[in-house]
Symmetry: none
Subunit: 222 residues, 4 copies
């Protein structure tokens, strides 16, 4: 969780000046990694972009990968915050789903380059990649679980459902936002279709025989 003491010394700035320098580098890293991808990005260019000397990079980051991973975590925060904001105040789960999906499209469209960083993380640091999705899924599942408890949606394993919905969102975003030069032209139509699928998929099944003891959440099908 905390990436301390990997090799050469302190990595956390103490002075305010240090904190600023570190931030400058991180922002430059965001730009360069986003533009070039992990492998093509060079630390030299990051430093040039940040207006810092080559050596300074290693004052604040253990190595190239450490900076990248930090960026992935940062992005995870941002995405989750964005989604949380978009969802807040929505009356019911389906409204939340739609708001979340559209917000995600918007995020991807707005940070096209940047979003590739997350996807590339799979090949740079698998743990950071899993962490990103696991945390996203946790938040997702929590919302779904609550909705299930309110009998708003069909009772299914929330984690599985979360990955289903994340997968849908991810692929739709890839196909109709990323591959569409980032325009949101089709976003509404695509979201409509997806929401039809999701709404029906999650709709409560016609209650055949009311069961006294409702089964533990995870297990449901048959």
């Amino acid at each position: 969780m905390n990436q301390s003491s990997t090799s050469t010394a302190r990595r956390t700035p103490v002075t305010e000046r240090g904190r600023q320098a570190r931030l400058k580098l991180l922002r430059a890293a965001e730009e360069v990694f986003g533009e070039k991808g992990y492998e093509e990005a060079s630390i030299a260019e990051i430093c040039r972009t940040a207006g810092a000397a080559l050596g300074s990079f290693y004052v604040y980051f253990a190595d190239k990968k450490a900076a990248f991973v930090e960026l992935v975590d940062l992005l995870g925060h941002r995405v989750r915050r964005e989604l949380a904001t978009a969802i807040a105040d929505r009356p019911d789960r389906m409204a939340q789903e739609r708001a979340g999906l559209v917000a995600f499209f918007r995020f991807v469209a707005k940070h096209k380059k940047l979003y590739r960083i997350v996807r590339q993380a799979e090949f740079v640091d698998a743990a950071a990649f899993r962490r990103y999705y696991a945390r996203l899924a946790a938040g997702y599942a929590k919302g779904l679980g609550a909705a299930m408890d309110r009998d708003e949606v069909r009772r299914l394993d929330p984690e599985i459902v979360s990955y289903c919905l994340m997968g849908m969102g991810d692929f739709l975003g890839m196909r109709w936002v990323l591959w569409q030069d980032g325009s949101l032209a089709d976003a509404e139509r695509v979201a409509d279709t997806a929401m039809t699928l999701i709404a029906s998929g999650l709709a409560l099944p016609p209650k055949s025989a009311p069961r006294k003891q409702r089964p533990a959440r995870p297990r449901e099908p048959s």
Copy 2:
């Protein structure tokens, strides 16, 4: 299609011996790329694995990327063939969906390393990556469209639905197969849950008011 005459000459073998050598290299590339990933894989190791001299690689492939791309296309063929086989003879669309999903899990479990090649393609050759999914989606959409025409499933844009289902499959495979050291322990349970979602999502809506003129299937974008 054929990238001739730019640099060192012909790339297509003429003799049978040549065809064999090329195949040997391609198999070695599959192994090494799968094991190490694109960036970490070295052509020297591919050649060592294939038992060929370094220069021989360039007799058959223009460069590192060309071999990788060829591999991605090859994998696309294999996956599509596998899925087509798994689906054949299934009585209805939902049975096909389930068979396809499970077959996909099995493919991923069996070729865990290899499957990373496809995912990494996004960062090596975007075109090959898109091609992979576009072709897969095309086949998928065709099956869905037919089912819609038979009134087996809800009428929606087949391409969008295809990407939704591919996304679900992809993420589930990632989470419960790839991250699970490739075991298929959870596969059935996960497939069950997913199928509940899919079946409900694609089920024909309760016909409220019978419409004379059923709406034309939405046309495929671009």
Copy 3:
């Protein structure tokens, strides 16, 4: 003089078919060497241009350099023949000089690319390079010597004078033909100026006191 038996066997074609194949390769070599220069030219491209297989090259030439050297010698022949033709029938030495200079300009303009081969020979095969100029100088000196004997031009070491005049021609051709995209726009004006210089330079000195015994040619100044 004769480049026999360097390594692998016979290099001289016996059949007529062989002679043709060899010629085809030599012409291709001329084109490719001329276009790319010695180092950048590849035997593969020469063969491709000739429509021959890679291995065929070594049937007719010992190696890359051998073909190049042969080409340089060939060019030497052509240049000397061209000059000889241009000079023939000129009434006096100065007319010959001018005709030769202009013919040289024309040759360079016409075979711009090709002429670089000669110049590059200095760094590929010094002997071939010297041979080229030595032979040219020999012819030049012979003509000059004859003119001296006819008391048409000032008596000086003909070889030295030859190199002086070749140097002038070479540099003028370089500056006003090669660097001028091969146009001959300035050729006349340049030739005029050069001829003024040459004519005065070679003009008989005002005979001060007639000497009985004229000195051996090479030694003249003081």
Copy 4:
């Protein structure tokens, strides 16, 4: 003029230590290029000679060619300085010509290997090659023009005359210095002969009819 930011960063040393290292590499390059020629010279050898690591080369030079070009420009400076020094204090143009010619022979004899660098530049970087001669010619022409204005020498296009004289010098140096294992044994005799030619060639023509209006010196082409 300065080729910044294209690839790996700054090329101009900032510290004194850097300046020294750069110089060390440049001197090594001079030695190795001179000895082996451009193509045969390897950067590895240059670094070995300089006692520097391979990577250091690229700290100071963008690539092999850049170092070579810099060397050519450097040589140009040296040659021009040498000639300027040799010419200074000579009473008249002909004395200057002779001094320049002999100084040039001496330079070639002394830096035999080095002088090949200039000649090879034609095939490595045509622009640097032209620059070398264009600058030399400019200085030459200036001196000639002044002499013409003083009515010391015949009035002709100074640039054309410059190239004539440079060509003579070049070829004589090649034939009687470079090909003579660098000895200056023949230098005097050759210089004498050449000077006879030059002196007569440039001598003022016998004033047939005194012209009021002396013709404008021909203007320099482009």
